[in-house]
């Protein structure tokens, strides 16, 4: 791990453009004076506490951090952080953050969004932000439901979901957000869980260290409208068999006894095998080819009985921000700083005396 100019352990070439803070900030420095208004027991509280606890680690000036959100319970997030923030409109946060991040390379820009916000109304913006590799960190709180509008099914709800808007069961197949992100060739794709503070913190750290778009899906419990959606991943008795914690460079093993592993299946996808199987795969998040990361994302859910968490993909590619600002810098080097009167005169003028 390199030591950065800002003295924190977290570094990348873009983070280094952001002014460091001379002060040792704490969680309290990132807590705003606004009363938090989520339902008691909502998973959003745990995520907020983890983010507030993590932000001091960035070692950058608090005023150089901005959180942009859309609309939803999750999108109230920026109000509770003592940073710059914008609670925008439904689904558009990635677009707004793109303008902010590309025009202000001295800021650390985060997007907070929900499964409906990011994947339904804002699906297009999400895809294009990831495709462009804009330097923003997207935290998508996936509660597999529309919380704020009081419990309609969402694009991540399972088929047959009974909700107010689907009393006979929902009909459409859900998105797998990680698969979607990998399909858009996002350079950083990860998944974590609201209640696993250590894992979520490590995931946020990895996202912050990544130059470019980081897409982090956070399983979040909505105890009012979709309670227990991720219970199998949280319950002490089941969680070790139900989650596969991916660690870069290590074999893909899981299970209460660490007796299970992941290997390639004859179908071309992946399957669960014994930990002792000689074909157990080693996780390679930095692989430029996203195929294996995609195959891992497909393990999610009931058919395989295991849900991978951690970083699926983490590759360093040129970012849109750098490319855009490079073009501006190059134009200035080549043509000099713009000369307004020269420009507007053009090369065909005539003078009348």
């Amino acid at each position: 791990m390199t030591v950065t100019t800002n003295g924190s352990g977290i570094s990348n070439r873009l983070l280094d453009l952001i002014p460091a803070t001379p002060n040792q900030l704490t969680r309290k420095d990132f807590t705003s004076d606004q009363e938090v208004r989520w339902c008691p027991g909502c998973g959003d509280y745990a995520i907020l506490a983890t983010v507030q606890g993590f932000l001091p680690e960035l070692g950058i000036a608090r005023e150089n951090i901005a959180f942009i959100s859309g609309i939803g319970c999750s999108s109230r997030f920026p109000y509770y952080l003592q940073t710059y923030g914008m609670h925008s409109i439904h689904g558009r946060a990635p677009a707004i953050a793109t303008g902010l991040a590309t025009s202000r390379p001295d800021l650390s820009v985060w997007v907070v969004t929900g499964d409906g916000d990011a994947l339904s109304i804002g699906g297009n913006h999400l895809l294009h932000a990831m495709r462009r590799n804009v330097n923003i960190k997207i935290l998508m709180f996936n509660n597999r439901i529309y919380g704020l509008t009081k419990g309609q099914y969402s694009p991540t709800s399972e088929v047959g979901k009974i909700t107010k808007s689907t009393p006979f069961g929902s009909l459409d197949r859900p998105y797998n957000p990680a698969s979607l992100a990998l399909g858009a060739e996002a350079t950083f794709v990860a998944r974590s869980i609201d209640s696993d503070r250590a894992h979520l913190t490590a995931t946020l750290r990895a996202a912050a260290e990544h130059p470019g778009t980081a897409f982090v899906e956070i399983f979040q419990n909505c105890n009012i409208f979709n309670d227990g959606a991720f219970e199998a991943l949280k319950d002490r008795d089941t969680r070790d068999d139900a989650t596969l914690k991916m660690v870069d460079g290590e074999p893909l093993l899981f299970g209460a006894e660490r007796d299970k592993g992941i290997r390639r299946a004859a179908s071309g996808g992946l399957e669960v095998c014994a930990a002792t199987d000689e074909n157990v795969l080693v996780h390679d998040a930095a692989n430029l080819d996203p195929s294996q990361a995609f195959a891992l994302s497909r393990l999610t859910g009931d058919a395989h009985g295991v849900t991978p968490i951690g970083v699926f993909r983490n590759v360093d590619m040129p970012t849109y921000d750098e490319a855009l600002n490079d073009q501006v810098a190059q134009a200035r080097t080549k043509l000099g700083k713009g000369d307004l009167l020269g420009l507007i005169s053009g090369n065909e003028t005539w003078t009348i005396n």
Binding site: P78, I96, T98, K334, G338
Partner: protein, 628 residues
């Protein structure tokens, strides 16, 4: 009938309207542009209007695929590209078919006879050959075998003959036409030859072919007996200064660049391509040395979203579009109203509804700009009146947006966007200093010490402070939820919401105190009828007024640049006249606003044909209203 050889005469005209028309592949825009350059260099006042099909390559030879370019030039100041051509150059039967209805009897018609083949006549929808069936009896027809003479000239030119193929030779026929027209109107030709050399620098043989065709056209005029008269239009007496020719979209682009320079804010354009606004994206993308960031987004919503995000970060956010794009941006414009951040929304209006007439002009987005949002969401609106005026309008929009922290609409249209006129270049001291200062200090004493209240307003302008991320100690959150007056914290309090709605409205209305009063042009001071317009109708309305006044009638003209709020003296101006006539290229949108705000029973004159008004048409309407 034997042709009588007459002494060639040169006639002096005070103004001429010429139109070039051909297939979209015939290079008519280039021909028109180049004729215009010659005319500008000569010192005439001028105004141009291109007219091209919506399809990139509509079926060749059909009236749908005809592309035209009209130029009006004169020895005095003119206001419009002209009602009807005095001379039409028709490169094929389709061009004749599509344009003949605009040609007044007696006008000159130059036709490329080579193109009048059976197949082409059929494609154009002619059962009989109009060159022989009497259709053209009322015109002065000049039959020119343009294609074959071009090919001959190119083949005969030294060093060009074998170097270009037949198709390339034929393609130079537009330069033959240009040469002939340059001769007919005594235009200077050096510029065109230089232009061709530069344009085809990489293919000198093509440049040579085009120059050969251009000269051949010129010489053909000299030697043929088809033209008994040539025309001269003396240079216009224009205000002293340095001029260039400019289209509305380029003037708008330069105005936006100037706005960035004058406010000292980096310009950020977030946009999505759409006719007739795309040229602004193209132009701004070329000038990154001004620190401009251009972002071609995935859609209009992302375009304006990114622009607003950039404004939040302290850039001058701009989005450019046309009517359908405005519809998509509405929700974000509402957010900008609520955030009270500067943002420029440039709407180059085109025919609607829906996809409508993408390449034609209209001014039917006024009410969309005014009201097209949920809730009470007032947005200032500014409309340029001529192509060159787009520059000043953009600078003015930036002044209002930054001073009042508000999104501002700029309503241009297809006619201004693509039309051109001479522009008296501003000098640096004619441009306003719009330097923006960000808030850097807390502005409120809280219980625990100094605080920053993002919605504590300037008592005079009612603008809120603009503190950008990166400013220590002023960290704050803004959003679309209603905010408490002052602190900006979320507030659902009924009285506070009522106050905030009224404050946002009052802020925009207050701009009326800070804009130029509505000027009235009433030379005799005896007018009883006021004609009120906005946007691109300025030229035709003013030209219509001139005609009416020339007949000894009295009419007053006023033209609105600010449509929200209206200038402070608007009511007074309206009340000073017995009748108010409002011509618009819509069904009466300004009229609706004027009637409801001022209780003035304004009369409308409304046309939505995708074309600008004609001066003669408006003169007729004015006379009727005056004489009623």
């Amino acid at each position: 009938m034997s042709e009588q050889v007459r002494e060639r005469e040169t006639r002096r005209l005070d103004r001429v309207v010429v139109r070039f028309a051909g297939d979209s592949g015939d290079g008519m825009q280039l021909t028109g542009e180049q004729f215009t350059s010659e005319t500008a260099a000569f010192g005439n006042d001028l105004s141009t209007l291109p007219d091209f099909p919506a399809e990139i390559r509509a079926p060749a030879g059909t009236p749908a695929g005809v592309s035209g370019f009209q130029l009006h030039f004169s020895d005095h100041d003119i206001l419009t590209p002209g009602d009807a051509p005095d001379v039409l150059v028709a490169m094929n039967p389709a061009a004749l078919k599509a344009n003949l209805k605009d040609l007044p009897p007696g006008a000159d018609l130059i036709v490329n006879t080579d193109a009048f083949t059976g197949g082409n006549l059929k494609k154009a929808g002619y059962a009989d050959d109009p060159l022989t069936d009497g259709t053209l009896d009322s015109y002065t027809v000049h039959r020119v075998p343009l294609t074959s003479m071009t090919i001959n000239a190119v083949n005969a030119a030294e060093g060009v003959g074998g170097a270009v193929n037949k198709k390339e030779a034929e393609r130079a026929k537009n330069m033959f036409a240009l040469g002939l027209m340059s001769w007919l109107y005594h235009r200077p030709t050096d510029g065109t030859e230089g232009f061709l050399k530069k344009k085809f620098a990489k293919r000198p043989e093509i440049a040579a072919a085009n120059i050969a065709a251009f000269r051949a056209g010129f010489n053909y005029g000299e030697t043929t007996e088809s033209f008994s008269v040539t025309y001269e239009v003396a240079p216009a007496r224009m205000r002293a200064g340095t001029y260039r020719r400019i289209t509305g979209n380029i003037a708008m682009s330069y105005g936006l660049i100037a706005a960035g320079e004058l406010t000292k804010l980096p310009l950020f354009l977030g946009t999505y391509p759409i006719t007739p606004a795309s040229d602004i994206l193209h132009e701004l993308s070329k000038h990154k040395q001004f620190g401009i960031r251009t972002f071609q987004a995935e859609d209009e919503i992302a375009g304006i979203g990114a622009a607003l995000g950039a404004s939040f970060g302290g850039s001058l956010g701009v989005t450019t579009t046309s009517g359908p794009g405005v519809a998509l941006k509405s929700e974000t414009i509402g957010l900008a109203v609520s955030l009270e951040l500067p943002l420029l929304i440039v709407d180059i209006q085109r025919g609607g509804p829906s996809t409508g007439l993408p390449t034609k002009t209209e001014q039917a987005d006024l009410l969309q700009a005014m009201f097209g949002r949920n809730g009470e969401a007032p947005v200032p609106i500014i409309a340029p009146r001529s192509p060159a005026d787009c520059f000043d309008a953009a600078v003015e929009a930036a002044r209002i947006a930054t001073k009042y922290r508000t999104p501002v609409f700029l309503l241009s249209d297809g006619y201004l966007a693509n039309g051109s006129e001479p522009w008296l270049l501003p000098t640096i001291d004619e441009l306003p200093d719009l330097t923006v200062t960000f808030t850097t200090e807390p502005n409120h004493e809280g219980p625990k010490g100094p605080e920053f209240w993002p919605y504590l307003r300037d008592p005079e302008t009612l603008a809120r402070p603009w503190a950008v991320p990166g400013t220590p100690g002023l960290e704050h959150r803004i959003g679309g939820l209603e905010k408490a007056d002052g602190s900006g914290n979320i507030s659902y309090d009924p009285a506070n919401h009522d106050r905030m709605v009224r404050l946002r409205q009052a802020k925009v209305e207050g701009i009326a105190r800070d804009i130029a009063p509505l000027e009235v042009d009433d030379p005799s001071g005896m007018a009883e009828v006021l004609v009120l317009g906005w946007g691109s109708t300025f030229g035709p309305i003013a030209a219509g007024c001139r005609r009416v006044r020339a007949k000894g009638l009295h009419v007053a003209q006023a033209h609105l640049r600010h449509l929200n709020p209206f200038p402070a003296n608007t009511a007074e101006v309206l009340r000073s006249y017995d009748k108010v006539l409002i011509p618009e290229m819509n069904l009466g949108q300004l009229r609706m606003l004027i009637r409801s705000q001022f209780l003035v029973d304004a009369i409308g004159y409304n046309q939505v044909r995708g074309l600008p008004f004609k001066a003669a048409e408006l003169a007729g309407v004015l006379e009727d209203v005056i004489n009623q």
